[in-house]
Subunit: 478 residues, 2 copies
């Protein structure tokens, strides 16, 4: 029988080639159009109908990577990628993730590879301390809380909701299911779509979600509006189940007043979940710790994504709970084939009970390589650079009477528009994205279109921001 596997020598050779390919890609990506210009089906049309019968050389695969796939790639690591939020990678994270692939350990329970679980516990404590999160969240302090790496903030929010449901029902939700029209969930009109999706998936349904108005200026949840909604629900006999506070909304980077929401949650017994997916990591910088104000005192759960602005290759979403009993209560399963002495002893954490999946990748390695090689000092420099570049861009907008800021700049995010008819702003976005110079996304604020420029890539410089600004001006005039 032929050996179909790559020989160790070939793995070394091709591995070095791929590393060099990545380094070359980063060297040249700034010269590429940010946004792929392919049409639907273009990439698929260049690929064969079937998998090959006989194995091909890895060189042939790399050649097709360049020829077939790369024209269809929108470059998230481009220095002028400003759309949505950054999903930035970094050299350290990529090598960390490569190590995790090479080891190929699966950490569903402590016993299947103890280092997978323990490194995750430790680096989440490192991150919690770096963000000045409450001691109650730490894995290592012997308290009831703890942290886990989820794939995405959507999953974190979903599991927070399941934990809230478990707590509110004394555990009956997992056995007999949810009861209809008993619970209400609260998020602002600017809450991430994953809150609605979590309600849909949990069996509570979209109708259980109350969309609370925001204050027009801050785009933060209106506290009186929340208080009224909670009171109205209670009057109708409904139980407030969970309040979600957005720390850095997706549209405009608005900040819900966590402490005020927390007071209301405390009064009505609701779970307070804080979605700081993008903005939370900013708290590595002491001068930005205000973003997490109120979390320490009030949050039952909290999520922030190192895979957005903290240089850790997707996927890596850091999720903490003040009391892991509700989370584990909602998600634990122990089939015979997973029984083992370490689990029975109670001395270990089995992370499979902290999320929907059973199998889990060794994601902690990439967060570890990032935290160690950057150090907190390096991370602060990266975050501050994003904030400074956003402030610089905001000043350019403010100084030009053809444009206006829609909301005050928020950390690395600037929301602005061209002054004039509604369509002008959307046309400008289409034009700059089609130009290839930069990639911006849009939103609507108080019903009107706005553009979002989200800085956060690790190689974005002032020159990139300036070039984008000049191109926006040129396109507007043309």
């Amino acid at each position: 029988m032929i050996d179909p596997h790559m020989s160790p020598e070939d793995f070394r050779r091709h591995g070095h080639e791929v590393i060099d390919w990545i380094a070359d890609y980063w060297d040249t990506v700034a010269d590429q159009p940010v946004l792929a210009s392919v049409k639907p089906g273009d990439v698929a049309a260049m690929l064969p109908h079937e998998a090959p019968e006989h194995g091909e050389s890895f060189d042939a695969v790399l050649a097709d990577l360049d020829r077939v796939l790369m024209p269809g790639i929108t470059h998230w690591q481009h220095p002028r990628y400003f759309a949505y939020f950054p999903a930035n990678s970094s050299p350290a994270a990529i090598l960390g993730d490569l190590i995790s692939s090479g080891i190929g350990a699966q950490g569903m329970i402590w016993a299947t590879s103890p280092a997978v679980t323990e490194l995750e516990q430790v680096v989440l404590d490192w991150l919690a301390r770096a963000l000045d999160l409450p001691t109650a969240f730490l894995n290592s302090e012997g308290g009831p809380g703890g942290g886990v790496i989820q794939d995405t903030a959507s999953t974190a929010t979903f599991t927070a909701l399941l934990a809230a449901l478990h707590r509110a029902t004394g555990g009956t939700a997992r056995t007999t299911g949810v009861e209809p029209a008993r619970f209400a969930i609260y998020g602002s009109s600017q809450a991430h779509s994953s809150l609605l999706k979590a309600a849909m998936m949990s069996g509570l349904g979209e109708d259980s979600v109350r969309t609370i108005a925001v204050d027009p200026g801050s785009q933060a949840m209106s506290v009186p509006a929340l208080r009224n909604a909670v009171a109205a629900d209670r009057e109708r006999g409904l139980t407030p189940l969970m309040i979600q506070a957005a720390v850095g909304t997706t549209s405009t980077g608005g900040f819900d007043p966590v402490a005020d929401l927390g007071e209301i949650a405390r009064d009505c017994g609701a779970w307070l979940h804080v979605d700081a997916a993008w903005a939370g990591v900013a708290a590595v910088c002491p001068e930005l710790r205000w973003v997490n104000a109120g979390v320490g005192e009030y949050a039952d759960s909290y999520v922030t994504n190192p895979h957005k602005w903290l240089l850790t290759t997707f996927d890596c979403s850091a999720f903490w709970v003040r009391d892991r009993a509700a989370l584990i209560g909602a998600l634990s399963i122990l089939p015979e084939y997973l029984r083992n002495p370490a689990t029975e002893s109670g001395a270990v954490v089995d992370y499979r009970d902290w999320h929907p999946q059973l199998g889990r990748r060794f994601r902690a390695v990439k967060l570890w390589t990032v935290l160690r090689t950057y150090g907190l000092e390096g991370l602060r420099a990266h975050l501050r650079s994003g904030v400074e570049l956003a402030a610089h861009f905001a000043a350019l907008v403010e100084g030009d009477d053809r444009f206006e800021l829609v909301t005050p700049p928020s950390l690395g995010l600037v929301v602005f528009r061209a002054i004039g008819p509604e369509q002008l702003t959307m046309d400008l976005m289409e034009a700059i994205n089609a130009s290839g110079t930069a990639y911006l996304s849009h939103t609507k604020v108080e019903g009107r279109a706005a553009l979002r420029l989200a800085v956060g890539g690790w190689r974005t410089t002032r020159a990139d921001v300036d070039l984008t600004w000049r191109e926006l001006g040129r396109l507007l005039s043309s």
Copy 2:
């Protein structure tokens, strides 16, 4: 400001080092104990209390990888790793995943990187054709079906359940939530624990799951028992929502009779989900196509994991549905900031609507590099080698009167026990795992302990199986 990022030269140098580290690891892993022997807390105790203030060299990180982490790693890529199911990696998959990290594109919608979506559609069609799955499942045939890469089979099963719920309620489940005590879900006593977890997470509750008895010999679901359970539920006014057929159960590799279950599902209107997480990929070999018998005619959804036995680094779970409308109906969300012309045109697929998460990694690359560099021929050789080695081990068990087969060998899985008191088998497992020679896991079959030897690693040879067998015999005599 100092630049905290790794220079391109340093990235190349350290990248080559990590590639070489992995090659060296594979070269030497067979000499390591398979199972880590650390005690709870050992790894954590060797790690600092806090992240470093100043960035450290990548060399220091690599040194700690060896010194601190590796003693706590149970080696899933060890040639004598026989526990649970294989989660095998391969050189090609690791390089594919590295490419995906390097590109760092996020494919939540087609527009955010078209190649991410289109390569996934194409390689899932390749895999579906390689497994001889029904044309109805293909992405490219213009029909209502389609395939997507989920992280794990647990997520696939959960989304299948949500799709079933969407179809059965005409969509009201997502808006008004699930109704209590209306639906019933069916799986055998050998169904994977993720079925129960899906019921818990969906709001239906564990009590909605009927645990159907299996035939003692085959460990396959008893068709009369299922028929009776369905009839009893209908008599009580409940609606059969989903029947899960296990194709290769976790404990013993048993095969539920998919066509028989499908007939019952068709009669009562239930969704038929086929969980072939481990065994399904065997159908790449024409002589093993029987594993998927009945799927073509009856399955509403089907999952098999290339990250188990098909050489694709975790996570990569291939999931197909016959009608994507129910899946998308249950999971779609379209906030303003994700609106875009390609989506509105209907000409593209936005995979965010196919799973719980919003963000998604470019997982298709690793499946592409595996399918291309192995070719179907290479994959068949790999799978056949696992089946042959399991048959060889089973013959050794059968030829020794101190041991017995508990069930007939199933593909790469052998379930056996030491003849004698119950504790003998468990003690033998503890002993061989503690010896470091091999790692086996256990289960219970008809209430009695049994050991599982699951072959599937890409470097497992006859010598590894023979060594394990000799060690088992030695430990039993000692």
